[in-house]
């Protein structure tokens, strides 16, 4: 998408000021979301989320590993985002690195909680197999296929859907493992443990254009933003993470106002996502 002319810029800003955006939505309305789960059969869990023209895929792979010595009773999660050149030609090679790092850091900040593990959206203690010796490590890899704005929200939704779809194989630990030896484990191929994803937060990005905030900005609208705040809210209405993106400064009272707007919007988004994910899982079971 090339540059916007002055007329187009005024049209976007004026529309937002009057609560009528270019595609007819109101300021706080999301684009229709569609969720498919189980798109990557080889991964432990996967999902594809489409929000308008933004298309992302997220996959979860679980591998056995050793827990860190600082937190022997918790598993490990690592989140990585890759921007594919199919989204924009400038993402080829090293071009997409900066955006990928930004998105990965924002997702880790929003979903993984504090260093001690408290407040994490994902319950890490359920990933432990043998305390201090063996734990599951979840590698969450996301791929951006097509980008039309609001990548962070779509990635957050994709991760939530992929985790609901994740089945971790049941592990039977051989009894009598002694001392420092690695315990023998028998990884079952049949039984799977489903992950509890009711506590995973959703990410709501509020983009400030002029004096108003919009939700789910398209890439045109994002080019006009002065700043954006991405807030991760869980079902209980607690903030699980917040990052401010974009260059311009914001008054602290505006940030607090954005937080309350995000909480309000997140309730609808959580309900919508949950019903979409449930429908996708049900559809997958039938086929």
């Amino acid at each position: 998408m090339g540059g916007l002319s002055l007329g187009e810029k005024n049209f976007i800003q004026g529309g937002i000021a009057q609560d009528l955006r270019s595609d007819g939505r109101k300021r706080l309305t999301y684009r229709p979301v569609s969720v498919e789960t189980g798109v990557i059969p080889q991964a432990n869990g996967s999902a594809r989320v489409r929000m308008g023209a933004t298309d992302v895929i997220s996959s979860v792979k679980a591998e056995l590993g050793k827990p860190s010595s600082l937190q022997p009773d918790k598993g490990k999660v690592s989140i990585y985002v890759d921007c594919s050149p199919t989204a924009a030609p400038m993402f080829e090679g090293r071009g997409g690195d900066e955006l990928s790092t930004d998105l990965s850091v924002a997702l880790q900040c929003c979903l993984l909680g504090g260093k001690s593990g408290a407040g994490a959206g994902i319950d890490l203690s359920s990933l432990i197999v043998v305390e201090g010796k063996m734990c599951w490590g979840l590698y969450i890899d996301c791929l951006v296929i097509s980008s039309d704005g609001n990548l962070l929200d779509a990635l957050g939704a994709a991760i939530k859907a992929a985790l609901s779809n994740t089945g971790i194989p049941r592990v039977l630990v051989a009894a009598g493992a002694s001392g420092d030896e690695q315990p023998e484990v028998d990884i079952s191929d049949e039984e799977f443990l489903q992950f509890d994803t009711s506590d995973i937060p959703v990410i709501v990005t509020l983009t400030k254009v002029g004096r108003h905030y919009i939700v789910d900005a398209t890439s045109e609208e994002e080019s006009q933003m002065s700043s954006a705040v991405s807030i991760s809210v869980n079902r209980k209405g607690h903030i699980c993470g917040l990052t401010k993106r974009g260059g311009a400064g914001l008054d602290p009272s505006i940030i607090l106002d954005m937080i309350s707007v995000a909480k309000h919007v997140s309730e609808q988004l959580i309900n919508k996502l949950d019903s979409e994910i449930a429908a996708a899982e049900a559809g997958e079971d039938d086929s």
Binding site: S69, L70, D97, E98, T101, D102, S104, V105, C109, C110, L112, G113, G114, K115, S116, A118, G119, V229, N234, H238, I239, C240, G241, L242, T243, K244, R245, G246, G247, A248, G249, L250, D251, P252, I255, L256, I259, S260, K263
Partner: protein, 257 residues
Amino acid sequence: MAGRPGTNPTTYSPSLKTQKTRSTIFKDQEIDWVRPDGRGFQQCRPAFFRTGAVTAASGSAYAEFGNTKVIVSVFGPRESKKAMMYSDIGRLNCNVSYTTFATPVRAQGSDRKEFSSMLHKALEGAIILETFPKTTVDVFALVLESGGSDLPVVISCASLALADAGILMYDLVTSVSLSCLGKNLVIDPILEEESYQDGSLMITCMPSRYEVTQLTITGEWSTPKINEGMQLCLDACSKLANIMRSCLKEATTSSQE
């Protein structure tokens, strides 16, 4: 040599702290945390700033906050080989790297890409880029010792270095971070406190304009807690800005003598 006890010189012996398993100080939520360096919960570490640390650079600054030692040098505005396209505003290029001896356990000294991009975002709102079109300003930060709360110290030191280089800015940028330990809000955490934290809040602001340029929150927070945390940090930021201003004034008066 290692096998003969009693013949080791007593002048210096490397600490074996890394071998000890970390004790869980904080199992019980009721116990109040006592800070190892005796500070109050809302007390920041004493700040030491000095400009003109690197003579070869256009501007530079050295900051020391307790055990966190950072040096930042600014080069520019100068021509950059990387910038191919004409642009009528200046470019800012930031790089944050750690030395290999910065952390308690020797790690490969590498760039921290995420810190570099966060430093970039924190500074770009404050620099008047229109004043140096077609050129680039490079900001290189080196963390000599990491003692906790690294990124806020890097950001504050970088804005001091930019001021020392004479780059036009809207305001000095200061940054403070806050840790949530159980129910306590602890400002300017050290490395040990950061590893136990339940949540963190890092705020970067321009104190005179009362604007927040960057805010990062991790962990679970309720809105009144965020409010309280932000007020604490903004207050600390304005005090830090006064310290930075007096450091800049000292530097100019001593060079005039």
